[in-house]
Amino acid sequence: MPPYDNDRVVVELTNPGWSQPEIHIPAGGGDGEPVQRIRVPAALRYRYNPGTAPTEFLLALANKKLVGGVCPETGDVYVPPRGVSPVVGRPTSGTVEIGPNGTVTTFCVVHIGFGVNAPPTPFVSALILPDGAAVSLYGTILEIPIEQVRTGMRLEPVWVDDDELTTSFENIKYWRPLDEPDVDPDLLKGHM
């Protein structure tokens, strides 16, 4: 059962509950239950354009590549790039290819997944630092027992089949372990 629905009951108020003041309603209404709660659907439709730097990132993803934006002052590579270095407020000076392999910087075990793309639970959701990047991406780790997942572990992305590649994050189906030595977790502290 989705835990978030557990407590969704309309309360019967007791002290110190407080209702709006008693009102006087003129006689003559019907004998149905008074309206207490209404359902008002709303749909808003937008066009979505990701912006210049994210577009570069998405086009690269369609070619099974990861790119990040370079901070003009520190040289740190931000992924996904948004066009601006968040630490200096200046445009990133171009994009560079990073990864695609990476390192787990931290993770959790998910027992309640959301959306149609969620793998069967439990699964590991991790922050993964692509090689050459300064910050981590979220990703799912499969092909390894959950209890063996650890910070510092090396990973590679598993891409969708070539004929399914689109300009989408979903091109990376998940990440799986590489047979490489772990990275010292303390070196990853500022890169989550």
Binding site: E22, G30, P41, R45, R47, Y48, V96
Partner: protein, 152 residues
């Protein structure tokens, strides 16, 4: 270096959609219940004016209001504009008037639509009447539209 040749413009639809649920409290609930029952309620304002649709708090002083009264189902257009570009969700999917309508017995106006056919049929001061929805469920849309009085 990946080259920055992103002249390509990526675009996709983004839909933000939800079936919002709203608790009504006593005053709004009584008004919507009234619509379901085929009558219109107003509320007596701090200055004695009858406010319709009824509000919980006086529009000028903010005082909590409690005395609901029944008003008419016909009234007078106090202002209007003509909607030519009809949009999703509007009660009438053809050109119509958006109007402020002061119902008989009320001292303030309600915003709703008038199904007048053409803008030539609209004028400030014209009398209009409620055309009820076929199925009423306790929503503002229980008033399907207003129509020129005598035409409903």
């Amino acid at each position: 270096m990946a080259d920055g040749s992103s002249n390509e413009l990526l675009e996709a639809p983004l839909v933000i959609e939800y079936p919002f649920m709203r608790t009504t409290g006593p005053v709004i609930g009584a008004f919507l219940t009234g619509l379901r029952d085929g009558r219109v309620l107003g509320i007596t304002g701090a200055d004695g004016r009858i406010v319709c649709p009824p509000v919980e708090y006086d529009p000028m002083t903010g005082a909590a209001l409690t005395e609901m009264v029944e008003v008419g189902t016909e009234g007078v257009v106090t202002s209007w504009s003509w909607v030519t570009t009809v949009r999703e969700g509007q009660p009438l999917q053809r050109p119509h008037a958006l109007a402020l309508i002061q119902l008989d017995g009320a001292d303030t106006s309600m915003m709703h639509v008038v199904d007048a056919g053409t803008s030539d049929a609209m004028s400030t001061g014209m009398r209009v009447a409620i055309r009820w929805a076929d199925e009423r469920e306790g929503l503002i849309s229980d008033i399907a539209a207003f129509v020129p009085a005598g035409a409903q």
